[in-house]
Symmetry: C2
Amino acid sequence: MSTSIATTSYEPFTEETAIAYIEKLNQKLGLFPAPSLLICKEIGDGNLNYVFHLSDSLSGQSLIIKQALPYAKVVGESWPLTLRRAKIEAEALQKAAETVPSLVPNVIHTDDDLAITVMEDLSDYTILRKGLIDGETYPNLGRHIGTYLAKTIFHSSPFGENQQEIKEISVRFTNPELCKITEDLVFTDPFFDHDTNDFEDHLKDTVNELWKNEELKLEAAKLKYIFLTKSEALIHGDLHTGSVFVTAEETKVIDPEFAFYGPAGFDLGLFIANILLNTISKTAIDEQQHSDLYQTIIETVEVFKEEYKKLWQNHHVEAFIQTEGYVDYMLGTIFEDAVGFAGCELIRRIIGLAHVADIDNISDCQKRLYAQQNALQLGSTFIIKRRNIRTIDQLIQETKDVLK
Amino acid sequence: MSTSIATTSYEPFTEETAIAYIEKLNQKLGLFPAPSLLICKEIGDGNLNYVFHLSDSLSGQSLIIKQALPYAKVVGESWPLTLRRAKIEAEALQKAAETVPSLVPNVIHTDDDLAITVMEDLSDYTILRKGLIDGETYPNLGRHIGTYLAKTIFHSSPFGENQQEIKEISVRFTNPELCKITEDLVFTDPFFDHDTNDFEDHLKDTVNELWKNEELKLEAAKLKYIFLTKSEALIHGDLHTGSVFVTAEETKVIDPEFAFYGPAGFDLGLFIANILLNTISKTAIDEQQHSDLYQTIIETVEVFKEEYKKLWQNHHVEAFIQTEGYVDYMLGTIFEDAVGFAGCELIRRIIGLAHVADIDNISDCQKRLYAQQNALQLGSTFIIKRRNIRTIDQLIQETKDVLK
């Protein structure tokens, strides 16, 4: 499926060269009905990629070209990044489409040389983070994400796929550079006085206390080690609310460029943490909003467990699968790791380089400080107490205790 | 370093073609002083490889060619095996030589096409299993193996090497076929009524009981999962007493064809189990022999921990390395896993396909049955109680309790 249309090697597209490329591709694949009249707009707001929206003025049809840039924009050209991540992202989308086709965008074409993926246009969708900030509710979201997680994780784990196939797949998804970003920005720098950190002055004392908390640091160290060494499943690797597109009914998980064989609880943890960051941002505004967000988290975890158990009962790759207590042990371990990862995400979004708009956009300084401190306290609680937080109800209760 | 001298692709050597190959290589590398008169003998007793001993009758100098066969001899040609394992073995030896050069044979030359490694001749050495069966003692063995384990594990772990380098190395050592052998023969088949199993009739009742022990099976399942998913360090992967060459003073770890990025406690567990299988075979013979063997195990673990801690204190790859309690946590986890893996190894050497001469060679049927039952009981104890066996003294005490 991946072929090069260009005769030259990598070059960043302009809106004009993007049109020229798609016109050539159109002749080959018949993407638009003839005749067509293409217009193009770069709509990316990310810091690692261009996103071109191409539409045919005659038929009204459209598609997206995502092109990886050879550096991270957020820190200028000084942070070079492999273009290979475009291939990883496209292959991760295709892999997810094998098990959850309705929950990812459709990949139309890839070109490794240009580091591009041509895919379904989801312009009718909203980025979940924006929707949540705007106070929208998504009654299907928990069910969709729970299903996405169960199916992608189970089918790529040693319970859904044989070890030999897994080893070959994990080589294809070896992703050291992107893993390094997570290793540093999620699991390391926020726990030390590091120059990538970025937090407000009014948090200085709180952050200094956190850096001196040896118990917290030991547990964070263990979670970092799990991230580095536990190769359980092909995970998304960056499943925050900016990686999810939604409409009132539909959900699409996008941007899996951080995909690699990693801990099965990582995506769940990041997703929970980002819903909670939105919850925290709404402290003392509207009880119904809190309750809806908690419900999304509860449904995500419950559907995840249900679907995972269904898959477990119907698959027979693993001889021990019928062993009493095994599936509950696995789900318990995944949840424990997820709680810890959620804790790290809550902390790094306040102290570290990459923040979330949910919190940063709180204009009232006192309210923002309060939300930031709540996020830090909840993060520390999750990290330290994760072995005692065995159920989603306990997690919600811990959250309520911190936010009350 | 790896080049092809042959113009054709893979073909198994005969003693004659082995000489011709080395004569050609000699012209290039000057292995033997001119003139030379080479003689060759195939001395392999393994089931996966040829081992050719080549010596120069004039100078008395000698070397070894190890050539991988494309199938496992033990089950005929029906179990095909990748020749790539020769490359993995040679590269694992070279990797180990970076940190423990005196504890591995020197690699002189490799040829991927022919799947051969030309290496230092260790004909003066004895296979450790044979030495132990003959009642020899090796006062340096524990110190050597403890050092070997600490250095190979630490330097290839995220504490001794950065994550990005580790990901690249682990791709080179992706070893699905050989891992599959361990997955099946160590962690799966012995716990089920599987046709690869091979145990004596007089064990039938004991084995049937073991297969019905759901607690044991759940813990074995967890250990299998650790083997499949915990990518902590570049491990040997098959460190039984047949993979160690010894003299009265020296120790060389050989045959790392099962090498891959796996759990850091695996090699330690296999080594302990195989020393214990020899101990078990000597029940009621000689208390001093038992005590010497226990001492070897104690020294292995103590030196491993000491050396690991020294490396930990002197390396700074990991930001959390100074965090209070972290090194003890890591060593505790490695030991816990090792105890569990030792348990699996004890069981599979009695029930599974591949036995050990230490036990099989006991000619008295009653004594053999007793030893076999002891091995099964000790193995089950290790697997089930591994979280409570926190020190090497506790492990020895558990062993004494079973053997008394």
